[in-house]
Amino acid sequence: MQEFLHMGGYAFYVWSSYALALVILLATLISPILRRRQLLRRLADKISLSGNQS
């Protein structure tokens, strides 16, 4: 395990690459989830607003 984490002395380069990949891919995945949530809330507000007027 120690040896695996050490990556033959390249631990910093290898693990930063994988960590950055995780961060970037997760951020790209989460952004549409958040956007969807906001959008649905906004549209729901709009509908209830127009429903009250008519």
Binding site: F4, Y10, Y13, S17, I24, P32, R35, L43, I47
Partner: protein, 245 residues
């Protein structure tokens, strides 16, 4: 068959079918990443020249491939949107841009982290690196042009034209290692004769490449569904979707 495509082109059907496909894509992405990462990090042997540092390849190369693949999808969808004025193609094109920018940024940073121990420098202004950086700027250009124009359809058209102009950069990236004398190594897999790579490394690399594709498909559908909801916000079916949620 044609009616299926025709229906799929309609935002409402796209929204429904994409929603049904998403969980499957998520599972597929997770499995592929799990297998690819285990194989690449644990099973694959160390490189005889680069030692363990070469394991960056399992992120770097798929990300770099995707940076170009996503660009072609974006430009292709942009062309369809321009020629046939198809709304869904506009949605797909603009949804590709941030994902492609992410892949490009990832390819660039992992390349830097690989370049430092192997070449002795994080960055060199060589043809491959510079053309990939231009690709990132093209993505950012498409995103900012789109968001700068108020009217959605005009914005889509302008962004599609920019994306199409930028296509010239793709062959430049691909052939940069051939046309110029660069520090970056030449193609090892996408050349016509046998790939000059050990199968024990090639297989996890290809699995990771497919994992990145599945991930892209999933995120693209998620973004496109948001975009469709936003654009069709005044239609009845969106109202139904919102009330059900």
């Amino acid at each position: 068959m044609w009616t299926f495509f025709h229906k799929l082109g309609s935002p409402r059907y796209f929204y429904t079918y994409a929603g049904r496909l998403l969980p499957w894509l998520a599972v597929l992405t997770l499995i592929l990443f799990g297998v690819g990462l285990y194989w690449g990090l644990v099973v694959a042997p160390a490189d005889y020249q680069q030692g363990e540092s070469y394991r960056i390849i399992f992120i770097h190369v798929p990300a770099a491939w995707m940076s170009m693949f996503v660009y072609m999808v974006m430009a292709g969808a942009g062309a369809i949107a321009l020629i046939w004025k198809m709304k869904l193609a506009e949605v797909v094109a603009i949804s590709c841009a941030p994902i492609g920018a992410s892949f490009t940024a990832l390819a660039l940073v992992t390349g830097m982290l690989w370049g430092k121990p192997m070449w002795g420098a994080y960055w060199v202004w060589d043809a491959r690196l510079t053309s990939e950086l231009i690709l990132l700027f093209l993505y950012l250009g498409v995103i900012s042009l789109y968001s700068a124009i108020e009217d959605t359809r005009t914005a889509s058209r302008a962004a599609a034209i920019l994306a199409l102009v930028g296509v010239v950069n793709i062959p430049i990236i691909h052939y940069s290692v051939v046309w110029w004398n660069t520090l970056h190594q030449g193609a090892t897999i996408t050349k016509l004769d046998q790939p000059s790579m050990d199968t024990r490394m090639l297989i996890p690399l290809l699995i990771m490449a497919v994992a990145f594709k599945a991930y892209f498909g999933m995120v693209l559908l998620m973004r496109a569904r948001c975009e469709v909801l936003e654009r069709e916000r005044n239609s009845n079916w969106v109202r139904e979707v919102v009330q059900l949620s």
